[in-house]
Subunit: 347 residues, 2 copies
DNA sequence: CTGAAAGCGCTAACAA
DNA sequence: TTGTTAGCGCTTTCAG
């Protein structure tokens, strides 16, 4: 018999006006102390719980922000969400989560739904680099922060890891271990994560005077199966290409690649060296020697939160074209050594 | 200049009533085809997007469900959320995610916030087995489904893995590999996940005529660090206890335990056999031989979603005391073998 | 088929 | 300090 207690109901019971009840319950307004106490008593007695839906409607602000991403079961995304959620919760904002399963159509569909719900901001790890899916938010001036992939939109706010640095670190690591023929498995030809990670790889090779063998560059789609397939393709042409190391640029593709290597009867690092990406669980405990590049997720989530809070407080909505690149780490086998290629860059 | 288009605005522009516009835009209502077309045109022209906040207020249903859990960066929870989200999204429901960082105080605080937002249902992986934190929902008759830990409340709806079966499978696996002295690291003395996992361990030992050595039972708090510490304690008394295998009952504690074992200069399974819990990433690719018990997360998420959908559709709110236990798996080293101890049990 | 009116629960002027 | 009124944007009777 609870849950239907409203300001109106309390007001009626007490024979006073709704607005007085409202004021009494909102610390900021001025009411006679005595009235406030009585109202609070009654509110408790009737099990009154404010209805935020009504409040949202009237204030045209839902104190809710949306996070749209390709796969929450990727540790990378889960950790970003965790970092973000922590900051936002402290300020009374809650998070709506939407998992697109890497599908651009779902992405825009979900974003449309979220806009209808009038979330106050959108955090988007897009799989559609045109950035078109974010249109409803962009047009209405609702804050949007892109993480992971960078959209074509010049004025967009972006906070991501420095992908070029990440690949440079990974490649240099392998070069300095004596490898000359280094294969790479990328997640996308069109998304900036893929483009930049390739770029860093190229730069590192050029810098050390190595040729880039296009045969050593394979593509997947960030999912495990594609890492497995890409690795198999690389292994098939290993005779001609003679690579001795491989760099895989996403968590799940790394798992897939490792499986392919094992199935081929090869060992890591005995037969083939490998540098993975975002292998966090192994990182913490290192049950084996996997070297991995990692992104500072909690930091990304936190930065996104702070940026958003600023945007939301200052009412100066709209994109400002902020680009923030955070530094990746590399975790090298058993040694919990961290190499910072660059410090965070802000523009 | 967008984003402020409302039914009222369109109605004014067209010189018709708000209700007609509303009807025209809601497929179900009856309007002259011609009117509908014109309205739809105008709506598009003015960039009208329905305001779900207003709709929610009027329908007193937000089409939103809340998920409150201890740690979204645990693969176990992330996958449940993914499974659940998938089902709910297909029916127009969105998910609000709250991460309590295993803190009971945050848990009840968040649940309070969520109730104010009038989410239509709550999915709760509680760390407070009294179930008291869910009170606002329970009292108001809003559907609540518990996952993971089972609360004291008898009438509560619960969908979890069969923890006793999980431990039995794990322990039997080690017994059949010839181990007699098997240590176990549990996550909690008070939560049902801990209690039941201990129970399964005990039952398996009894069944094979082994004594239970209380010295071989250690407790952590599900976090990595505690797994590390618990393992260290076990190793310190290894001389007296002479255990040859250990069973660790959560993902992160497993990582911690492995680290402790490695730091002690021991190898798995050379010096010590280990069965872990929820080690999914390793499961998919198996970079090494870790045997692990796993829970069917996607299935749990899906079941939760289906139950909720049913509850929400049929308006017969309130707890019905449904208890559903899904079967765990065991993944045994390199072999992708699955042992089903039991089939899903429904009560 | 369409309009007028009421109301979801709350806040916020504006008076009193 | 308190009450009255209006309205956030929408749906839904109830008349017409």
């Amino acid at each position: 018999m609870k849950g239907n207690s409203t300001l109106k109901y309390i007001a009626q019971q007490m024979g006073i006006s709704v607005s007085t009840v409202s004021r009494a319950l909102n610390e900021k307004s001025v009411v006679k102390e005595e009235t406030r106490k009585k109202v609070q008593e009654m509110a408790k007695k009737y099990g009154y719980v404010p209805n935020e839906v009504a409040r949202s409607l009237q204030k045209s602000s839902t104190e809710t922000i949306a996070v749209v991403l390709p796969d929450i079961s990727e540790t990378f995304f889960a950790r970003i969400v965790k970092g973000l959620e922590n900051v936002m919760m402290q300020h009374g904002y809650m998070i709506i989560l939407a998992d697109t399963r890497e599908r651009a159509d779902k992405e825009s569909q979900y974003i449309e739904m979220l806009y209808r719900r009038r979330v106050d901001a959108l955090v988007l790890a897009t799989v559609d680099c045109s950035g078109a899916s974010a249109t409803p938010f962009l047009e209405s001036g609702t804050p949007v922060v892109f993480i992971d992939n960078i959209p074509d939109i010049v004025s967009a706010d972006v906070i991501t890891v420095d992908n070029i640095a990440a690949s440079k670190v990974a490649t240099k690591y392998l070069l300095s271990a004596g490898h000359r023929k280094i294969a790479v498995i990328l997640g996308s030809k069109t998304e900036t994560t893929g483009i930049e990670r390739l770029e860093g790889y190229r730069q590192a090779l050029y810098a050390s005077g190595e040729e880039v063998d296009e045969e050593l560059i394979e593509y997947g789609d960030y999912k495990m199966e594609s890492g497995y397939e890409a690795m198999k393709r690389l292994l098939e042409k290993r005779r001609e290409t003679a690579f001795s190391a491989v760099y895989v640029t996403s968590e799940k593709m790394t798992y897939g690649a490792i499986r392919a290597i094992r199935e081929a009867g090869l060992t890591i690092p005995g037969d083939l060296s490998l540098v993975g990406f975002d292998i966090h669980n192994l990182m913490d405990d290192r049950p084996q020697m996997i070297t991995t590049v990692c992104q500072p997720e909690e930091a990304i989530g936190k930065k996104v939160g702070e940026l958003l809070l600023d945007r939301l407080k200052n009412e100066e909505n709209g994109q400002k074209g902020i680009k923030m690149r955070l530094s990746p780490f590399i975790y090298e086998g058993d040694t919990v050594k961290r190499i910072h290629e660059t410090e965070s860059k802000y523009c």
